[in-house]
């Protein structure tokens, strides 16, 4: 019995130390799953969040794809490689650019109307983007007996047809550059004069890269402008301050809670503290492993849930104390403490979970961040406060620590 108890305690300690180690250092040389690798939201890393809306009703999905490609291209050309673009609803595009220095410049750069032009090698404009009626990705053989491969098909307007015929005639054997903004997005070689207004661009395309180029060319004739309807910019310094102070607050808060539990609940408090360390380690590792973006309200959610995580233990320990006062044996008291406290603990967690789920479903970005960590916190803390603490308390008993005073009994 004694050795079983000691083994239980030892395993739980290994779990706590192991998880803390992973949270601090990560696994392997690249520190996988460590707290340092948790993705930071814009309010922590600094950066700009922009929502663009097309100023036209009934935008087609194809047009939106073209607009998204255009923005993605501009982000890449400017070196904002960590930026993220996503369509939001039917006619909106959301852009996150972490760590950008000049937000206003970024906003204008990204949202401006596309300037697509076809130029010859000397840089003379041959025709412009509005003369392109359509650009699509196709798959098929592009030469006699050639293999089937992806390519981009262009279709010009009547005006474009004429100009393109002249342009191809004058540039046979040379390249025509397709330029978006100031960036050359493709420079196909002209092999023959094209008079019917249908050109194809071939090359070493993958299906994806052909689709990308077709989208970008389509964006050159988008029939709408993108207006900024929501923007938020957080200075890099403010973001760093927010992160530092959040981490600091977390550590102070945790230290206070650990100390409080130890002072008030003695040995049981120690069990709760070890469970709490497991909880914090688990939360960090899961945030990191699942690539969940941590925001400032997200940190608040974690810190708040730490306070709530010990609630379950408080309810159980108070119950154990009462059972001991009623004169029951230690083993019965502990057993009853856990089982009788369970309904109250479930209730509390369910009501908070209701709030968190509603916030997650209806909340916007920052609110979702809070709801995510709160939900995670509730679920993880149920596990640690019920299972880990229970194993530890039983471990203490099996190891031969039977003095009821250590479990909260006060003699008068």
């Amino acid at each position: 019995m004694k050795s079983k108890g000691r083994l239980m305690l030892f395993l739980m300690l290994v779990l706590a130390v192991g998880l803390s180690f992973v949270a601090l250092r990560g696994i392997g040389a690249d520190g996988k799953w460590s707290a340092a690798q948790i993705k930071q939201g814009l309010d922590l890393s600094g950066g700009v969040y922009i929502v663009y809306e097309a100023d036209k009703e009934n935008v087609t999905q194809e047009e939106m794809n073209a607009a998204v490609s255009l923005i993605q291209g501009r982000l890449d050309w400017n070196g904002w490689t960590e930026a993220e673009v996503a369509q939001d609803g039917s006619n909106r595009i959301r852009v996150d650019i972490p760590g950008v220095e000049n937000a206003e410049e970024a906003i204008r750069e990204i949202g401006q109307t596309a300037q697509l032009a076809f130029k010859d090698e000397a840089g003379n404009v041959l025709l412009t983007g509005d003369m392109v009626v359509n650009a699509t990705k196709q798959v098929g053989a592009t030469s006699k007996n050639g293999p089937s491969e992806p390519y981009v098909a262009l279709e010009f307007s009547d005006e474009g047809k004429q100009l393109f015929a002249e342009a191809t005639k004058a540039n046979i054997g040379k390249t025509i550059q397709i330029v978006m903004d100031d960036e050359i997005i493709s420079s196909p070689m002209v092999s023959t004069e094209i008079t019917d207004g249908n050109a194809i661009i071939t090359g070493n395309f993958t299906g994806e890269s052909a689709e990308e180029l077709a989208s970008l060319i389509r964006a050159g004739s988008l029939p709408f402008n993108l207006n900024v309807i929501h923007m938020k910019n957080v200075g890099a310094r403010l973001g760093a301050d927010a992160l530092d102070s959040g981490v600091m607050a977390g550590m102070v808060g945790i230290a206070l809670v650990l100390l409080f539990m130890l002072v008030v609940y003695k040995l049981l408090g120690l069990a709760a503290d070890i469970a709490l360390v497991v909880y914090i380690g688990l939360e960090m590792v899961l945030l990191s492993a699942f690539g969940i973006t941590l925001t400032l309200p997200g940190i608040a959610g974690i810190i708040l849930s730490i306070g709530m995580a010990v609630d379950a233990n408080v309810v159980i320990f108070e119950r154990i104390k009462e059972e001991l006062v009623e004169g029951k044996t230690l083993r019965v008291s502990v057993k009853n403490g856990f089982s009788r406290a369970l309904p109250a603990i479930l209730d509390g967690n369910i009501t908070t979970l209701i709030a968190a789920v509603v916030l997650f479903v209806f909340g916007s970005g920052t609110v979702k961040g809070f709801a995510t960590t709160l939900m995670m916190g509730i679920i993880i803390s149920m596990f640690t406060a019920l299972c880990i603490t229970r194993i530890l308390v039983n471990g203490f008993m099996y190891s031969g620590i039977y003095n009821p005073k250590l479990y909260g009994l006060r003699t008068k």
């Binding site: 409080f260 009462e322 609110v367």
Partner: protein, 292 residues
Amino acid sequence: MKIIENRRKFFAVSILVICIGIAAMIVQSTAGNGAFRYDVEFTGGTSMEIDMGQECDQEELRQIIEEVTGQSSPQIQQVLGSNEVAVKMQSIDSDTRQQLMAAIQEVYPQAQAGEISDVSATVSSEMQTAAIKATLIAGIAMLIYISLRFRDVRAGASAIIALFHDILVVLTAYAVFRIPVNNTFIVVLLTILGYSINSTIVIFDRIRENKDKFRKNQTAEKIDKSVSQTLARSINTSLTTLFTVGAIYVLGVQSIKEFALPMMIGILAGAYSSVCISGSIWYTLLPKQEKE
């Protein structure tokens, strides 16, 4: 613990606090500031938090803003104990924002923008709708949960009244301290709801458990006893949560302080309402023969 005997005093304290809140709302809205300090997230417009780098003359700042934007009544609020100001005005575009920052930096060379946001009328009305929807749905979900959980109608009603009490106290905090009302407002409100109902359930469960230990006309004693038995839990849980939220309040940056302050007040209100108010209301609602 003599909760029931003193219940009128507890009611009075709560009503007093809530009245202070209502008074603050009336005073502020007659002064033209609005009952609450709504953020651009809900009203639309542009807000800029600027660290001026030195002490700043609000009148001068107002003039700079008027010169650049043509708006004569921007809201300027100094963040206590710092050189930071929060400016709120009607929506301006990217170019105007740059011009404004440049104009400010001419007078205050060290001025630096911390957080800038611009919200169009469409987005702000969407956010308002989403916030109201979230609160209503969470409220209904909790009502359903409470009514499933308490088969006794009076117990359910008392728990709900205690919840309303907590909401009103949190609203009072927002009105009195002029805490910006934005999306985190909903976060605070719903978290407090979840938190407070939890404490009430723990106490009411104990009352039900103690049912057989008291005679039918000993309800007051039964409630008092149950509150006393769960008191240590009520206090200790509130304390541990206050430790962590308090740490955020003391150490956090401005935007997180604005979240932590009402949260602390809400936690205190929730603890107070579960211990002193919810059982008392239940008692008040009981028919006479069960009292004494």
